[in-house]
């Protein structure tokens, strides 16, 4: 008998890029910053990244195998989570930190909430907050065996010192593995913009709001050096371009994205200026993520032809 023709409901074509392509684009965009971190801090930081990624994948696989869910190992989302977490860790942390962090990120933050697309907060950010609170000592030790300087530029700033903004821009400074080079992170961010993986709204509004907040309340006015150091320092760049733009935990509506980014800018400013630690991006993102359902609810647009009308 002749083969039957396939029947399906329209549309009969699909865009070529799916979840995996988007995730791999994010990984690709993170590569310059990751590579620079390894170059700057040495082979041990590569071990940290590999451990973080490895345990993220392992946790994803094991959990799904145990509960009998179809494996999502190949959609690339666990890879992104692991990589982002690793890049947000200090370069010389003991390896059990990335292990624990990845397990927490994938198991507690992502899978227990239902897996990809269901998590309420960004897994990598939540895991970092968890590690920061639980292991403050290990997570704040930025000096290594080779005697590299201990304090991060933001800590220096907080204590009233001045930072070398040129070094902070290129990345010859101290900090987490993937956050030090603003240049490399910007290159990745621009790649994502060009490939239309992300849109400009969240990073630009976030950075803009934060800058304005610093000018208004930072106590140094529009001091360009101070402002540049605040923008380049800490996890702001990696946060604005790679974490705040996380699909699952950012609003899908256009207006919602603006509102979300405004919140992020203000929260980051508050945490940085008056918080206990020098950074604040992780806490800001986790907090703002929790507001997303609410933001979406109030910003869902009126459909075409219903603008300004009440009745549905």
């Amino acid at each position: 008998m002749r083969e039957l023709w396939n029947v399906s409901s329209s549309p009969h074509v699909r865009a070529w890029d799916g979840t995996r392509n988007l995730m791999l684009d994010v990984v690709l965009a993170l590569m310059p910053a990751a590579a620079f971190g390894i170059y700057r801090f040495g082979i041990y930081s590569l071990c940290v990244l590999v451990t973080a990624v490895g345990f993220a994948l392992l946790t994803e696989y094991t959990y799904e195998a145990c509960v009998g869910k179809e494996s999502t190992l190949w959609d690339g989302s666990a890879l992104v989570t692991g990589l982002l977490l690793g890049m947000n860790l200090p370069p010389f942390v003991p390896l059990w930190i990335p292990m624990l962090g990845s397990i927490f990120a994938i198991l507690a933050v992502k899978q227990l909430f239902g897996g990809i697309g269901q998590n309420v907060v960004n897994p990598a950010m939540a895991a970092r907050c968890f590690l920061l609170i639980s292991f403050a000592d290990q997570m704040n030790r930025y000096s290594g065996a080779d005697g590299m300087s201990g304090a991060t530029p933001l800590e220096i700033l907080k204590n009233g010192g001045t930072a070398d903004t040129a070094a902070m821009f290129t990345g010859f400074t101290t900090g987490s593995i993937g956050e030090i080079s603003t240049l490399a992170l910007l290159a990745g961010g621009i790649y994502l913009l060009v490939k239309r993986v992300i849109d400009w709204v969240i990073p630009i509004v976030y950075l803009g709001t934060f800058a304005l907040f610093i000018v208004l309340f930072g106590g140094r006015g529009a001091d360009p050096g101070y402002l540049a150091a605040q923008l380049c320092g800490g996890g702001l760049m990696i946060g604005a371009w790679f974490m705040a733009t996380d699909y699952t935990t950012s609003p899908v509506t256009e207006k919602g994205r603006v509102l979300y980014a405004l919140f992020l800018g203000i929260l980051t400013g508050i945490f940085r200026l008056w918080g206990a630690s020098a950074g604040g991006v992780s806490y800001a993102i986790v907090t703002a993520d929790l507001l997303v359902p609410l933001i979406e609810k109030i910003t869902i647009p009126k459909p075409f032809g219903w603008e300004g009308q009440k009745d549905g």
Binding site: H12, G18, T19, V252, F304, G305
Partner: protein, 452 residues
């Protein structure tokens, strides 16, 4: 005025290159012809012939039954073999008149009588269109004489000729514009006679500069005759040709699903429909044939064909050289909104725009994932809906929530499914929900009518 575009939309592979340069060639049917009595929106036509009757080309086989209905015209001469139920491309089974073709194409009396629309009253023009059995040839199949009777003729200030053809692979309208721009303008002139205050706008996507040029040149000649006709090149994207979006692109006026184009002072007709109106009113030719694009990688000689309504799609495939290999998927219409066929034994109807034959079915290989909330569906929705939220509602059969999310505004263009990162069947689930809700509403309305 409008912006020449709207918010949202997608850019699927166009595929028009295959048949863009293929001139329209006429195909005369060999076998039996099938005339479904329901190939339009509204009440099915009533059979006006009996089994064994002799019929002539242009003769009425089915009479319009009610206000929103359309007649069915024989496209060949011969005799009625039977009246039976047949399946159409969209899977609907309709009473159909089956005509045995004698291949002589003897015209019915009065066919081909030339008329000057300038000497006809509005009533005569509308009757001529109605008698010609013309419906929206773009795919919707709404009876054209009803569309052209909006109530207040003076309230219409735009007559829009929809020559956008935003569905990939389709080139029928494009060829019509290149080969008979005069025919389209003739039809437009007829329609403009009905609406004295209206301006004619011919809407074309800007990736068809040759069509824009030809239509402009033709319109220029008519301008000498003091007709107000403009050719509008719109941004190329899908679904630019969707009525509500098209009206916005051209006039800047917004309509929701509860309104009709006439509420925005517009009448929108497909270019092929306008062409048919010109033929019917000026040349006394009822709707007997239409242009169809037969294309895809599974067809040997893709092309644009002028086909008699009622011809079997199986014949049409053979006319285009047959299959190159056993196809995986055959679609009646475009790839975004067309219907997949199981068998080729369905007739060409008034609303058939294309027959696509593919060696592969890309959709069959697609693996469904979970929504990652990337928001691409929200970005592309031409109705500015939130498909991902409607999907959640559909998944739980929560039709109340679906309606609250304005799900009934969706016109099933397929853009959200096209871009979905997780490859979810969004449009498909919306179709189901909309059908269910329409059914519930109709039932409730009926019950209310019975008790009240």
């Amino acid at each position: 005025m409008g912006y020449g575009s709207f918010r949202g939309g997608v850019h699927p592979f166009r595929g028009k290159g295959i048949t863009k340069e293929k001139a329209i060639s006429e195909y005369l049917p060999q076998g039996e012809l099938v005339y479904p009595l329901s190939q339009h929106i509204g009440a099915p036509a009533k059979a006006a012939v009996a089994v064994g009757d002799e019929v002539l080309a242009g003769q009425i086989l089915g009479e319009a039954d009610g206000f929103i209905s359309a007649g069915v015209i024989s496209s060949v001469s011969g005799h009625v073999r039977s009246i039976e139920r047949r399946m159409l491309a969209d899977g609907v089974i309709s009473d159909s008149v089956i005509v045995e073709n004698d291949r002589e194409y003897r015209p019915a009396p009065g066919i081909g009588k030339l008329r000057d629309p300038k000497e006809m009253t509005k009533e005569e023009i509308r009757t001529a269109i109605k008698n010609a059995g013309i419906v929206g040839l773009g795919g919707a199949g709404f009876p054209t004489h009803v569309k052209l009777t909006p109530g207040d003729d003076g309230a219409i200030d735009y007559v829009i000729v929809n020559a956008v053809e935003c569905e990939p692979y389709l080139t029928g309208n494009y060829r019509l514009m290149l080969e008979d721009p005069e025919g389209i303008l003739k039809g437009l002139q007829v329609i403009l006679r009905l609406f004295e205050k209206a301006k004619g706008v011919i809407a074309i996507e800007d990736d068809k500069p040759e069509a824009v040029r030809r239509m402009k040149a033709a319109a220029e000649e008519h301008r000498v005759q003091k007709a107000s006709i403009e050719v509008c090149a719109l941004k190329t994207k899908y679904p630019q040709g969707a009525e509500r979006n098209l009206i916005f692109s051209i006039t800047g006026r917004k309509l929701n699903s509860k309104k009709l184009p006439k509420d925005a002072g517009c009448i929108v007709c497909n270019a092929a429909t306008v062409h048919a109106v010109g033929q019917a009113v000026c040349e006394g030719q009822p709707l007997m044939s239409r242009v169809i694009t037969v294309t895809g990688d599974g067809i040997a000689n893709p092309g644009n064909f002028l086909v008699r309504v009622g011809t079997s799609c199986r014949e049409l495939i053979e006319a285009a050289g047959g299959f190159t290999c056993e196809p995986k998927k055959v679609i009646a219409g475009g790839p975004m909104m067309g219907m997949a066929l199981t068998v080729p034994d369905v007739p060409v109807t008034k609303t058939s725009s294309a027959l696509l034959v593919f060696q592969k079915d890309p959709v069959a290989q697609v693996k469904k994932g979970s929504c990652i909330r990337c928001g691409r569906c929200v970005k592309v929705c031409p109705c500015r809906l939130a498909p991902l939220k409607m999907w959640q509602a559909c998944k739980h059969y929560n039709y109340e929530l679906f309606q609250k999310l304005y799900g009934m505004e969706c016109y099933e263009c397929g853009s959200c499914t096209y871009v979905c990162s997780a490859r979810l069947p969004l449009t498909q689930s919306f179709k189901q929900a909309r059908m269910m809700i329409s059914g519930i509403r109709a039932k409730a309305g009926k019950e209310a009518g019975e008790t009240g």
